[in-house]
């Protein structure tokens, strides 16, 4: 449904998007993830024919964005980073305007407007001026605007920004409903967002594709570097936390030790390994040989948060290998 090849976008000074390729199948929800300035908005603007790419091609819903922009535009719904609303218009008036602009006939328009007003829970503010709405409501008007003409592809730039938790859940529900018939790309910083509503993740950082995979695979793959929770028993402050941490850090293959909160009589640590190293046996031996009691040891999956940080911060060795894998795909 969406096919991007070698996409590059250069601004005067910066390369905002650097040779990105990916594909999205029909009916999928894909999360577009990256830190600030990664190039998410830029990529989305290219997909929606707002900006032309400097190099490479993008094909959306069967049409090339450069050769057939009008056909592409007919088939997409787009929520830009800032909801594109006119403060001087009423909500329903605005939706009618946008709907008509997107080619809905005057006979159908009222039905479609009522439809999205219901879906986006805008009933209460239907006749209010958009300029008087709160940020969250304006965001919902933005979403309503994107889905009003029932487009095959939905491109949403940070759809849940500015929404309260209840609304976030509602929007997630809505998106899950829409997926299947619609292909959805949404960008976000919020990782739980991706875990909850996306099937696949595309991670970019500084314009480069870092990883593209299903959420489950990504979590698994990065377990190659495992994280282990270790609890050492302590009696009357013996042994002290600093000592234990130091000792654990010396175990070969350990990349990081974090002290967690200690509860009655137990010192809890989270230990991360270097990629591909198994450290559990060595950890256990170290604790026991030091004469301490090992209360508990279990592996904890790296959260998507950790993965994200690993992938997008340059110092981490994980990045280069993951990027190579990403490019091979």
């Amino acid at each position: 449904m969406i096919k991007v090849e070698g996409l590059t976008k250069r601004y005067a000074r910066t390369v905002a998007v650097d040779n990105i390729s990916f594909e999205v199948e029909k009916g999928q929800i894909v999360g577009f993830l990256g830190p600030n300035g990664a190039g998410k908005t830029t990529t989305m603007r290219i997909l929606t024919c707002f900006l032309p790419p400097s190099e490479g091609s993008a094909n959306v819903a069967g049409f090339d964005v450069m050769a057939n922009p009008l056909e592409v535009k007919k088939r997409i719904g787009y929520l830009p980073e800032t909801p594109p609303v006119y403060p001087e218009m009423e909500v329903s008036e605005y939706l009618v305007y946008v709907g008509r602009l997107k080619g809905i006939s005057s006979g159908e328009i009222n039905g479609k407007v009522s439809d999205v007003v219901g879906k986006c829970a805008l009933g209460e503010v239907r006749n209010k001026l958009i300029g008087q709405l709160s940020k969250g409501y304006r965001q919902r008007v933005g979403i309503a605007q994107a889905i009003i003409h029932n487009p095959a592809v939905l491109i949403l730039d940070e759809p849940t920004s500015g929404l309260d938790p209840k609304q976030i859940i509602e929007i997630r529900e809505l998106l899950r409903h829409l997926a299947g018939e619609h292909t959805i790309i949404l960008s976000t910083h919020i990782l739980s967002e991706v875990e909850h509503s996306c099937e696949r993740v595309i991670i970019i950082s500084r314009g480069k594709l870092v990883a593209i995979d299903s959420v489950a695979n990504l979590t698994n793959r990065l377990r190659g570097s495992e994280a282990v929770a270790v609890e050492v028993q302590a009696v009357d402050g013996q042994p002290n936390a600093g000592d234990v941490q130091q000792r654990l850090e010396q175990v070969s293959g350990v990349s990081r030790v974090m002290a967690k909160e200690s509860k009655d009589g137990g010192l809890l640590f989270e230990v991360e390994s270097l990629q591909g190293r198994h450290i559990r046996a060595d950890l256990a031996r170290t604790v026991v040989n030091s004469g301490w009691n090992l209360n508990e040891m279990r592996s904890v999956g790296l959260s998507l948060e950790d993965i994200f940080l690993q992938l997008t911060s340059a110092e981490k060795p994980a990045e280069s290998s993951a990027a190579q894998e990403g490019e091979k795909k």
Partner: protein
């Protein structure tokens, strides 16, 4: 075509959601009314004097009042037009709604023409303020209606031209004030040029006179309808709107 009308309607309506449309109309009505008052007062006094001196001179409303008055209207319009066009595209760029417009299945020219038509409608409303005064003349005397109609057509065409130029300038920035300022400067320059060409009758002056949007109005003001002038205005409007659409496209490439 539907989208042109849609955008035009929306644009026209949004002028009236703020004070701008009312301000412009009131301003024009006031200045024009003042001009009307001065012109009629002088003419009436002059003809009374002539009568007292025993000369029975038929008063010509067309030449003595309507023509200078509508010429005056065309000058006022020069100053109002920047305020009509400045927000057209600049505001959309500022608030980000331009992303909605440019990702909707509507081509750039339709957007531009729609916006220009919306501005044109407001301009017509503003001109409409002068109709009241002119109608008074018709009630009072018997002016010839044809030159009046021609002059109005001239006002509309000249306005259309300047509005198209203003629309173009509005695409080049996201700052309304700059858009308005530059448009104002251009209008002023055209106005000055028209003065300049009145004095310089050499070949250079003639070229400028041909290109000057304002000098083409002179014939209309005199009540002379010539195809040459109409074609000039229409092609200028078309050219400016076409340029605007191109400008939108090149801005995409550059930004």
């Amino acid at each position: 075509m539907t989208s042109v009308l849609l955008i035009c309607k929306k644009e026209f309506k949004s002028y009236f959601t703020g004070p701008i449309a009312y301000l412009l109309m009131a301003f024009f009505a006031l200045i024009f009314g003042f001009g009307f008052y001065t012109a009629t007062r002088d003419v009436v006094r002059f003809s009374l004097q002539a009568q007292m001196m025993g000369q029975q001179q038929p008063m010509n409303l067309n030449d003595q009042i309507i023509r200078p008055l509508l010429g005056f209207a065309s000058t006022i319009a020069l100053f109002l037009i920047p305020m009509i066009t400045m927000r057209l595209i600049a505001e959309e760029k500022k608030t980000g709604t331009i992303e909605l417009l440019l990702t909707s299945p509507v081509n750039d020219l339709a957007i531009i023409v729609g916006k220009w038509l919306g501005a044109m409608l407001l301009y017509l409303c503003i001109l409409g303020m002068s109709v009241i005064n002119i109608a008074m003349l018709f009630a009072w005397g018997k002016p010839d209606w044809k030159p009046v109609a021609v002059a109005y057509l001239g006002l509309i065409l000249q306005g259309g031209c300047l509005l198209a130029i203003g629309t173009f300038i509005s695409t080049t920035t996201k700052n309304q004030i700059i858009a308005g300022g530059v448009t104002f400067f251009v209008c002023l320059l055209l106005w000055l040029l028209s003065w300049f060409t009145a004095f310089d009758t050499g070949p250079f002056g003639q070229v400028i006179a041909y290109l000057s949007i304002i000098t083409h109005f002179d014939n209309f003001a005199k009540g002379l309808l010539s195809t040459k002038d109409v074609v000039f205005y229409l092609s200028m409007i078309f050219f400016a709107l076409f340029l605007t659409a191109r400008s939108m496209e090149s801005l995409r490439w550059r930004s």
